[in-house]
Symmetry: C2
């Protein structure tokens, strides 16, 4: 009885899909995507990181990062600055606009998280996070 609905890959995918939909909805007013938000979140923590660093943190391919960074530059939320010491590197710096949106965006995403987690008890949430981390943290 190998129904697709009982398959762990499918269940993970659909739960992820759902969380993405909710996140998108809450970010929609700002015209940024969930992964673009994730990049900004890391930059608010520490400005001036370079692309490979951001990609490692988010576990995303360099090719994927190039596109995400391009779109954030176009939206005028970040800027690329060539490093004088190492000309391979582009330091990513928040613009004033990028800095100014921190509180609003975090509030919007917190509301999204509440919505996702509203389906679950506190215990379920803690359990879920622990198990997901176990699956996702495996080295590749």
């Amino acid at each position: 009885m190998g129904k697709v609905e009982h398959c762990i890959t499918f269940l993970l995918g659909k739960a992820y899909q759902k969380s993405q939909q909710i996140a998108k909805q809450h970010l929609n007013a700002f015209q940024i995507t969930p992964v673009q938000y994730a990049v900004l979140l890391i930059l608010w923590e520490k400005d001036g990181q370079y692309i490979a660093e951001l990609g490692t943190r988010l576990k995303l391919d360099g090719a994927t990062m190039t596109g995400i960074i391009d779109r954030l530059v176009q939206k005028n939320l970040i800027e690329k600055h060539a490093d004088a010491k190492d000309r391979r590197i582009n330091k990513i710096m928040l613009t004033e606009k990028g800095k100014s949106l921190e509180n609003q965006l975090i509030n919007a995403m917190n509301a999204g998280h509440q919505e996702i987690l509203s389906e679950l008890t506190e215990t379920e949430m803690v359990t879920l996070k622990a198990i997901l981390a176990k699956i996702g943290d495996v080295k590749r």
Copy 2:
């Protein structure tokens, strides 16, 4: 302390990413993707379903389905048959090649699932599936 690593959306995404990588790896010899496998799995259950039906089951957009179906046709695993009763509908039928791969593909994916679940205890797996279903099943 809003680190991205503690964010449920991120954790779901990375666990999903991991499971996709493992599934891809196990399906690689057959040159089909995880979602293409999912379509075949539903067709092995019952041949001759139409595209919207498959999309509903997999919770995928019609536009997404069109592309997936196209590629499975190109690989000669399925065929599209216009329905005589309702000319809007394309019934999707397995080819002989599509039928013949059932056992091999299921075995390959079972190995993949074992690999993912090997990180978890039996209890964790049951708990995880139940919570994921709770998140994913919410109507949209």
